[in-house]
């Protein structure tokens, strides 16, 4: 019977055919992405003109015409300005950055003591990198070392004055050292303080709630410069006569409190997104307030708002540049301070120094935002509907 069965079942799959020639290769890609319609073509032409106008100039300035080595301003000035470059020359003066690199990194930190910040940086990287790689075990110990032990060690190493290390006043600190230490302390302080403020704002106790709201909304309503003014001008008035504390510490307090208020709002957003059932479930298990928050609510809420938290970190990292207004010199401050160095004053100095500083800031911020995207993807439980 079976030989006469006319039904046909294909045993082998037909081979996939390649796309028609009009749909593959470079031509199709260009048709789809660059010249899909008349309007598109016009946009593409505008885009090409824009890129052609800007990109060659930038590359010329930053690489081809740039002056990489030299000892003073003559290498970066044109003949008319008393230098060696031909008239009409325009290129980056990387020689300036090269000569001032030590200052950009450490400020006026004594040269023979610079091994100390370098050692701290090495320790910091050695503790941070394993914490950031998800596969490396012992996260708890690692975090304790980074946020508990490292600040103590870093304080002893950087400030000195004990264990035979000579004292280095914080007024001598500068450059990337100040930027990084301010942001590290700011991050380490603002997250816990922000959590406490957020919990306070959602608390049942009316007075605590009101105090938290007043603090958060006031700080969020005023610029960081005003907060820094407050920290540098008003704090000394608040203390008994004769008691004063370090300017660096005052800036730290200002930056941390400022970031904490923003952090509190981000975390509050996360807390609001946790369904009531989670709170009630924790209550019905008999957990106390701190157990409920610490074990059930916070882990979920913080995971939800990772992008917001990292954005706050990035914002604070950028905001550390404002300490220049209370005459402290972070990376940007030191770069700006060096514009007035007569030995290097040329038309290109400011631009080169600022581009360098921008590049350093950009690397850190871009790195942070990419890492947050990576974490977000990794922690995504896909419960979201």
């Amino acid at each position: 019977m079976q030989e006469h069965d006319l039904s046909f079942v294909r045993v082998e799959m037909a081979l996939a055919q390649s796309a028609p020639p009009s749909e593959r290769g470079l031509g199709a890609w260009i048709r789809k992405n660059l010249i899909a319609s008349t309007g598109d073509t016009i946009l593409t032409i505008i885009g090409i003109v824009l890129v052609a106008m800007i990109l060659p100039q930038v590359i010329n300035w930053a690489f081809i015409n740039a002056q990489w080595t030299g000892t003073d301003r003559t290498v970066c000035a044109t003949v008319a300005q008393g230098g060696i470059q031909p008239d009409g020359w325009s290129g980056a003066c990387w020689a300036f950055v090269n000569a001032k690199f030590g200052q950009f990194m450490f400020g006026r930190y004594p040269i023979e003591e610079r091994w100390r910040p370098i050692l701290v940086a090495i320790l910091f990287v050695a503790l941070l990198v394993p914490l950031l790689i998800p596969k490396v075990p012992r996260k708890g110990l690692n975090a304790i070392l980074l946020f508990g032990a490292l600040p103590v060690v870093a304080f002893i190493l950087l400030v000195g004055g004990m264990f035979g290390l000579p004292l280095v006043e914080t007024s001598l600190w500068g450059g990337l050292l100040v930027t990084l230490s301010l942001s590290f302390v700011g991050i380490a302080v603002s997250l816990p303080v922000g959590i406490v403020l957020a919990l306070g704002r959602r608390s049942q106790m009316p007075i605590v709630k009101m105090l938290c709201i007043i603090f958060i909304e006031t700080v969020r309503g005023i610029p960081l410069i005003t907060v820094l003014f407050f920290a540098s001008v008003m704090l000394p008035l608040f203390l008994p006569a004769g008691v004063s504390f370090d300017k660096f510490l005052r800036a730290l307090i200002g930056v941390s409190l400022f970031a904490a208020a923003y952090m509190a709002e981000v975390i509050r957003g996360g807390l609001q997104a946790i369904p009531r059932g989670q709170y009630e479930g924790a209550d019905s298990l008999g957990l106390g307030y701190w157990q409920k928050m610490g074990l059930i609510v916070m882990p979920q809420a913080l995971k939800l708002v990772i992008p917001g938290i990292v954005n706050t970190f990035i914002g604070m990292f950028k905001d550390t540049s404002l300490v220049i207004v209370i005459s402290m010199f972070d990376l940007l401050g030191v770069v700006k301070q060096n514009f007035s160095d007569a030995n290097w004053a040329t038309a290109q100095t400011a631009r080169s120094g600022l581009v360098f500083a921008a590049f350093v800031f950009w690397l850190f911020c871009f790195g942070m935002s990419r890492y947050s995207m990576f974490t977000e993807r990794r922690l995504d439980t896909s419960y979201k509907r």
Binding site: N33, L34, A36, D40, L43, T44, G47, I48, L50, V51, Q204, M205, P206, I207, V208, L211, T218, R220, G221, I222, P223, L224, I225, T226, F229, F230, V233, M234, P236, L237, F238, L239, P240, A241, I314, K318, D319, S321, L322, I324, V325, L332, K336, F339, A347, Q348, A350, R351, L354, V355, A357, A358, F361, W362, C365, F366, S369
Partner: protein, 395 residues
């Protein structure tokens, strides 16, 4: 009755230490006591410090002579004016740079944000590069870049760069012809206001008619004609009272015209560029937040690409966009205080000068905080009104 009595008794069982209500009251009492003690201690210290430094507290100093000059002022000001007036000048400068910056940043931000969603690969990439560059650099650095990196290295006034419409660009800023309003130019203003009022009226009538009958009316072209045409007509009728004061080159400087100083220019450009990157991201998120089904349904109803965007996508996207947009506007206003770093006389800079001259630290900082808080609240209030207009009307 009896069972209710028992129920009411029940919460008080166990030690009162474990009662959350009593605990709450206890903690709040502790907080209040600590806070009052802290404030009292601070107040004592402040009073002691102020008497030691011989500074009289109070806002009386606002009426004494300032004695310093301000390079840019929207109202009449000289060094003989009072401290109060100096602070008012600073406040106006802050408002000017914030308003102009917000408008420019919104324009650039919307263009870049829509560009990031373009089908065109090149445009998309250009917009992405713009956003990623500006988002990750401190605003202060952008300000310095414009100020010391670009505007300071422009040629001196004698070799000014000529731009169209008799404008000039040099180290001392941007010069353009200033409009001089002659007699009867008030008519133009009246006509402009009249045009706007009539356009609003026409739009209302047209909407009512479309709701009632379905007939459409070319509102856009009529409004444009009214708003531009009426002032032009008034201009012609009042005998062309408008003339221009052109900037002229003299030996060392440019005279006449309107000068925009480099401090303002760099602050304005930097704030606009920086905030635009954030607005672009908000706009992109907003448009992507409108589900594709909306666009497809609109297309199925026979709408074209333009009306789909205008009538279906943008109104829904705006709901997502407005709250974060508000906070960006607030950020821009607050970031305008960075002016102090390049010497643009905004509120913070002038209040800082006043604070240094008089030693009235407490009052100075209080004024700064109060003004910025008021500006923030005002901006939020305006944006909340806009938001409630845009909010979803659910039936």
């Amino acid at each position: 009755m009896a069972s209710q009595e028992i129920l009411r008794e029940e919460p008080s069982r166990g030690s009162f230490i474990n009662d959350p209500k009593i605990r709450g009251i206890f903690f709040q009492a502790v907080v209040v006591i600590v806070l009052v003690a802290l404030v009292w201690w601070i107040a004592q210290n402040v009073i002691a410090n102020l008497t030691r430094l011989r500074i009289a507290s109070g806002f009386g100093f606002l009426n004494s002579r300032a004695g310093f000059d301000i390079s840019e002022s929207a109202i009449a000001y000289s060094s003989d004016s009072t401290y109060g007036r100096a602070i008012l000048v600073g406040f106006l400068n802050t408002v000017i740079v914030a308003v102009v910056g917000i408008i420019t940043a919104t324009l650039i931000g919307f263009i870049i944000g829509i560009g990031r969603l373009s089908h065109n690969w090149l445009i998309r990439k250009i917009c992405t590069v713009y956003v990623e560059v500006f988002r990750n650099i401190p605003p202060l650095l952008v300000i310095f870049f414009w100020y010391s990196g670009v505007l300071a290295v422009l040629p001196p006034p004698r070799e000014s760069i000529n731009l169209p419409f008799s404008s000039f660009l040099n180290q001392r800023g941007f010069y353009f012809p200033r409009a001089v309003w002659g007699d009867g130019s008030w008519l133009i203003l009246v006509a402009l206001l009249l045009g706007i009022a009539m356009a609003w009226f026409v739009a209302r009538k047209a909407r009512q008619r479309q709701m009632a009958t379905g007939q459409q009316f070319p509102v856009f072209w009529t409004s444009t004609a009214l708003i531009i045409g009426l002032p032009l007509l008034a201009y012609a009728l009042s005998g062309f009272p408008l003339s221009f004061d052109y900037p002229k080159q003299s030996t060392f400087n440019l005279t006449g015209g309107f000068q925009v100083r480099p401090e303002f220019l760099s602050l304005y450009l930097a704030l606009s560029c920086y905030t635009a990157a954030f607005i672009a991201e908000i706009v992109r998120a907003g448009i992507r937040g409108v589900s594709k089904g909306q666009t497809e349904a609109a297309a199925a109803l026979g709408l074209r690409a333009g009306p789909i965007l205008r009538l279906v996508v943008i109104p829904q996207a705006m709901r997502i966009v407005i709250p974060p947009l508000t906070s960006q506007y607030l950020n821009l206003t607050k970031n305008s205080s960075l002016a102090i770093a390049i010497g643009y006389p905004d509120l913070t800079a002038i209040a800082g000068t006043v604070l240094n001259q008089t030693g009235q630290a407490v009052e100075g900082v209080v004024i700064m905080m109060a003004v910025y808080l008021a500006l923030s609240l005002l901006t939020s209030a305006i944006m909340n009104v806009v938001n409630s207009k845009m909010a979803l009307v659910e039936r």
